[in-house]
Amino acid sequence: MAELLSLEEAVARLVHDGDTVALEGFTHLIPVAAGQEIIRQRKRDLTLVRMTPDIVYDQLIGAGCARKLIFSWGGNPGVGSLHRFRDAVQHDWPVPLEIEEHSHAGMANRYVAGASGLPFAVLRGYTGTDLPAQTDTIKPITCPFTGEQLTAVPALNPDVTIVHAQRADRAGNVQMWGITGVQKEAVLAAKRSIVTVEEVVDELEPRPGAVVLPSWAVTAVAEVPGGAKPSYAAGYYERDNAAYQAWDAVGRDREEFTKWLNELTGVKA
């Protein structure tokens, strides 16, 4: 059964230096507050996993929390590049960043395999591309019935997955709706999980399109209203597009970024 904790306590107890951590979300319901709590708690040497690393991953990378990134598309959606990510890959700043790069189809299937207790997944993917040459996590596999050759990718099983959802009840059952991406798979694939929610309610009234994660499949729930800002939470608030645009200028410059980071972590310059 999920425990109801503060975000601070959940991150302190469940995220350790050196862990493989996935903060998932597909534009919608990005667990930004949780990511920033990881920065505040100065976690180090994390292997970060996400299909679509966006500005909170740029922040984590710029803050030096990550030694590796497993991903399929890294950008500031609707704006452009992630400059802290680029700086880490191109110039090892603030620390070198190893990358393990896939396509969306490959990443999604890696989570599916992880959630399913299988060591690998099979897909039609990567054929003819230069991606397989850069990783040992893309291999051919032959159909034992037709002889056809397909592609295998290994399961992703993060130490911790963190997602944001609209609601949980007091027993820790989680409800999310709208675009729910790969969040269910990412939670089920993980050894431990944290779900931040807009609110904890007495009863989860059924809703069209809602995905429910039963309490016993979640480690901790933390009530964090606005925890997905500047992304959006359907039914609660809209995306703050200006904040994404504003990040471009902050992320672009090491000094600007350092100022932002000091402010977040309460360090006096």
């Binding site: 790069e101 969306h104 599916v112 039609r124 230069d130 729910t180 359907a234």
Partner: protein, 252 residues
């Protein structure tokens, strides 16, 4: 054709027109999404838009700002998980057209959105990466690509094959067993390119009105071949421009 228009507007209109016969379209964000939404508002009201965030049959009233815009979910026939959109909908070849952008494109329609520079581990520029494109390029019935034409983007050979087009030429897709026909059209701000039926090399088949051939040649990083019967794209109609501008205004 009294209204003035920009090269980018011509590009969006030409890209939208290409979606005439398409029943379903897997839409990349940015230029492809703009063109697909323009098509839905003009000549292709039944165009079925599929977004990799899991939105099937999205009918956005404004241009989505990202692939996971709430507007897409709110207007979709169905919202499914990301694994499902790739496994059940894209992979089996259910989608007629994949509509992609590119950072670099080569003369055989191969797409690079990964790194600029010859060393993957020490790139000149680190780009966003593959996203859904490799499998969209592989599995859709055909692929349209839209991007602005210049010699940095249009190269002899991409630095990194993120998404496979026609490889090193005609027959490569068949040899690899890729189900879709691959890139059949590239729409730029200067004209249209299509693979030569014999070699699969991208060849200029249409110039946008007022664009000089020399300019396109200069904007192409390989020795550009030109179709014998080079045509001129019809200029945007007033209606097309009006709808496009309304769409952009509603999304500002």
């Amino acid at each position: 054709m009294s209204t003035e228009y920009t090269a980018d507007e011509m590009m969006s209109v030409a890209a939208a027109r290409a979606l005439a016969g398409g029943k379903s379209c897997f839409v990349g964000i940015g230029l492809p999404s703009k063109a697909a939404n323009l098509a839905r508002r003009t000549h292709a009201p039944d165009l079925n838009l599929i977004y990799e965030s899991g939105c099937l049959g999205a009918k956005p009233a404004r241009l989505p700002l990202s692939i996971g815009d709430g507007e897409l979910a709110d207007t979709a026939d169905a919202v499914v998980s990301v694994p499902e959109v790739f496994n059940y909908w894209l992979q089996p070849g259910r989608i007629d057209v994949g509509f992609l952008g590119a950072a670099q494109l080569d003369k055989f329609g191969n797409i690079n959105t990964t790194v600029i520079g010859s060393d993957y581990h020490d790139p000149k520029v680190r780009l966003p990466g593959a996203g859904g494109a490799p499998e969209i390029a592989a599995s859709c019935g055909e692929v349209f690509i839209v991007l602005r034409q210049n010699p940095r983007a249009f190269v002899e050979k991409v630095d990194f094959v993120t998404s496979f087009g026609h490889g090193t030429g005609k027959g490569d897709r068949e040899r690899l067993g890729l189900p879709g026909r691959g890139p059949t059209l590239v729409v730029t701000d200067l004209g249209l390119l299509r693979p030569d039926p014999d070699t699969a090399e991208l060849t200029l088949t249409e110039l946008h009105p007022g664009v000089e051939l020399d300019r396109v040649v200069a904007a192409t990083g390989w020795k550009l071949k030109v179709a014998e019967d080079l045509k001129t794209t019809p200029a945007p109609t007033d209606e097309e421009l009006q709808v496009l501008r309304d769409l952009e205004k509603a999304s500002a």
